[in-house]
């Protein structure tokens, strides 16, 4: 099958591998990089720069032209523009921005990163990754972009407030969102198995669909292993989802990310999914999440000197003790000692146990996104 045939085939051959658990299977109802100063204080004309023409033609590996229209632009990323491809609704095409291609270093790195990603067969075939499937070239045959799967869903932020869950996923309860958390963990774990590490845990980079399946987009920002050399890094991150050592020692951003840092970041996202958007370091009185994180004061640690926001005591009380301990280990001991951060398998086991407890409990509060009462010790 040629690349072009693949492109027009709806990608069926690429969607045969194992799927994470859909929420419906649960028995009960299922950076932007800082740029110019903000326009405040500027002039309206500064915000009226005509957009550059973006109609362009790229070529598949066999030299067949693919015409992309400005009207088909879905979004502009930091370094690329994403187009829908009208002849195949299941794919998107990401093309480097002209300014990215004008940067000699980026121009040199792009083909090698793309090639390294394409070599990872398991990732390419994983149905939950918007992984590069095929390069697209310029008129000289140089890679300037790639084809990837298109996914439809809400970002994980749709789970970050009880009202949001109700609005975007009517009928879901804590069992459903916990299954999403487990699916997300499994996706990250599969990547880690192949030494692919997520650099930026911004929830906007992860989609969840109505079946609770999690899809990872922005895969070209991941850290990619290279057989005989250091991994290919990117510097992208979102502060409130970073391991503390990165925020406290920013020079570490120049080094490859570590599995321990990924464990910490993942645990933040998992905690926020289970706690309807509450950041693990959120405290009574508010404050910037990244600053709270840097302080290391975890409100569920009695010695932290900070308190959990009042509305959240009930939600915390229904987490299983093992899961609470796992989070406490991650966010207190693991704050200063990366090597003591619980393994992904350990966190997974505690989430599975929490799911089992929710499935077997007869108390509605056990599964409620917003419990009406605190759990008593003997419940």
């Amino acid at each position: 099958m040629s690349w072009l045939e693949l492109l027009f085939s709806g990608l069926q051959i690429l969607t045969q591998t194992s799927q994470p658990t859909p929420v419906s299977s649960v028995k009960r109802p299922a950076t932007q990089k800082p740029q110019a100063p903000a326009p405040t204080g500027g002039d309206w004309s500064l915000l009226a720069t005509p957009e550059k023409g973006m109609n362009l033609t790229v070529y598949d590996p066999q030299g067949i032209p693919l015409h992309l229209k400005k009207a088909d632009v879905i979004t502009h990323g930091g370094e690329g523009v994403i187009y829908r491809f009208t002849r195949n609704p299941n794919i998107l095409i990401k093309v480097c921005k002209p300014e990215t291609l004008a940067d000699a270093k980026k121009l040199r790195l792009f083909p090698s990163r793309l090639a390294a990603m394409m070599r990872l067969k398991e990732c390419r075939e994983a149905p939950f990754l918007a992984w590069p499937l095929m390069p697209v070239m310029d008129t000289h045959g140089a890679p300037i972009g790639f084809v990837m799967r298109k996914y439809i869903g809400r970002t994980l932020r749709a789970l970050f407030a009880p009202m949001q869950v109700q609005r975007f996923f009517p009928g879901w309860d804590r069992l459903h969102v916990t299954q999403v958390a487990l699916n997300f963990l499994d996706a990250v774990r599969m990547l880690a198995k192949h030494k692919v590490l997520i650099n930026d845990f911004n929830p906007g980079n992860f989609l969840v669909d109505k079946n609770g399946l999690v899809r990872l987009i922005d895969c070209d920002s991941f850290q990619i292993p290279v057989e005989d050399g250091p991994p290919l890094m990117t510097r992208t991150y979102t502060p409130e989802f970073c391991a503390p050592e990165l925020l406290l020692h920013p020079e570490l951003f120049e080094q490859p990310r570590t599995p321990e840092q990924v464990r910490f970041s993942l645990a933040i996202v998992i905690y926020m999914i289970l706690m309807s958007g509450l950041h693990p370091y959120a405290r009574c009185g508010g404050g910037d999440p990244a600053e709270n994180l840097k302080s290391g004061k975890y409100p569920l640690d009695k010695n932290s000197g900070v308190r959990l926001p009042v509305s959240w005591h009930k939600s915390v009380s229904w987490l299983t003790p093992g899961l609470r301990d796992c989070f406490r280990q991650m966010f207190t001991v693991g704050f200063d000692h990366p090597e003591k951060r619980p393994l992904l398998g350990e966190l997974r086991a505690e989430i599975e146990n929490f799911i089992t407890v929710m499935k077997t409990s007869k108390n509605n509060n056990q599964r409620a996104i917003l419990p009406t009462a605190k759990k008593r010790v003997n419940q």
Binding site: Q32, P34, Q35, A36, P37, A38, P39, T40, G41, G42, D43, W44, S45, L46, L47, A48, T49, P50, E51, R154, T155, R157, A158, F160, A161, P162, M163, Q164, R167, F168, G204, T238, P239, E240, S276, G277, L278, H279, A282, C284, G285, G286, G287, D288, P289, A290, E291, P309, V310, S311, L370
Partner: protein
């Protein structure tokens, strides 16, 4: 205002920082027919598109103040999705009490921010969007001072938009901050403006509070009359 916190619905189970937005909309008699119809359509689209974004819908809390005969709160501060579900009806009538509307907006904004502080909810800088097509019928200079001053200090994103040939840009220059100053709406491109506003609020709510001033707002050429308001006489 003493019972404001108790009287106002504020979802304390939403952990996202809030972005308070006030739309100050001229619904005086001169807005009748096509302008008010286009404004309604643009507003409807704004409410739907912003509510549909899972990030912006968590952060944007909207209040709509109209001025046509009297200055009124057409929709009190609430999550934008709630206003989308129950939008106010806009009808054009009577005079242009812009000063009263500015005073009301200033009071409401202060009370909302006080409420956030009381409840320990962090917030982005507020946005106030003033849209008017005529001359104020009351004293606006006094009521404008507080918000103008906040805008000059970049503690408030205060946007003043003149609609049509009769808009009083001299007054608008005295109301909104010097930079970027008032801007003229291109024709009746309300929908294009509200689309830009949605994108802007999406960008704000996707940023951290600390980084909100670093976001790059989108292109305004679809709705802003680049010939601009007439030059100041000074």
């Amino acid at each position: 205002m003493n019972n404001y916190a108790e009287e106002t619905t504020l979802d304390v189970t939403n952990p996202a920082p809030r972005c308070p937005v006030i739309l100050l909309l001229d619904v005086s008699g001169s807005m009748a027919d096509a302008p008010i119809q286009e404004l309604r359509e643009g507003l409807k689209q704004f409410l739907q598109e912003t509510s549909d974004d899972e990030t912006a819908s968590m952060s944007v809390e909207l209040e709509i103040i109209t001025f046509g005969g009297t200055a009124e709160i057409a929709a009190p501060f609430a999550p934008i999705s709630e206003i989308c579900d129950n939008p106010p009806t806009l009808n054009a009538k009577s005079t242009t009490p812009l000063g009263a509307a500015l005073a009301l907006a200033d009071k409401e904004l202060k009370e909302r921010r006080r409420l956030y502080k009381t409840k320990g909810i962090s917030s982005y800088k507020p946005w106030v969007i003033l849209m008017t097509d005529g001359y104020p019928n009351d004293d606006w200079e006094g009521p404008a001072q507080s918000m103008r001053s906040l805008g000059e200090q970049r503690k408030l994103q205060f946007i003043g938009i003149g609609i049509g040939p009769e808009a009083d840009f001299e007054a608008l220059r005295g109301i909104v901050p010097t930079h970027p100053g008032p801007v003229k709406l291109k024709g009746l491109c309300f929908r294009e403006f509200f689309s830009w506003l949605t994108d802007s609020l999406k960008s704000v709510s996707a940023s951290s509070v600390a980084d909100q001033d670093k976001i790059q707002l989108g292109n305004v050429s679809s709705w802003a009359d680049l010939a601009g308001p007439p030059p100041s006489e000074q």
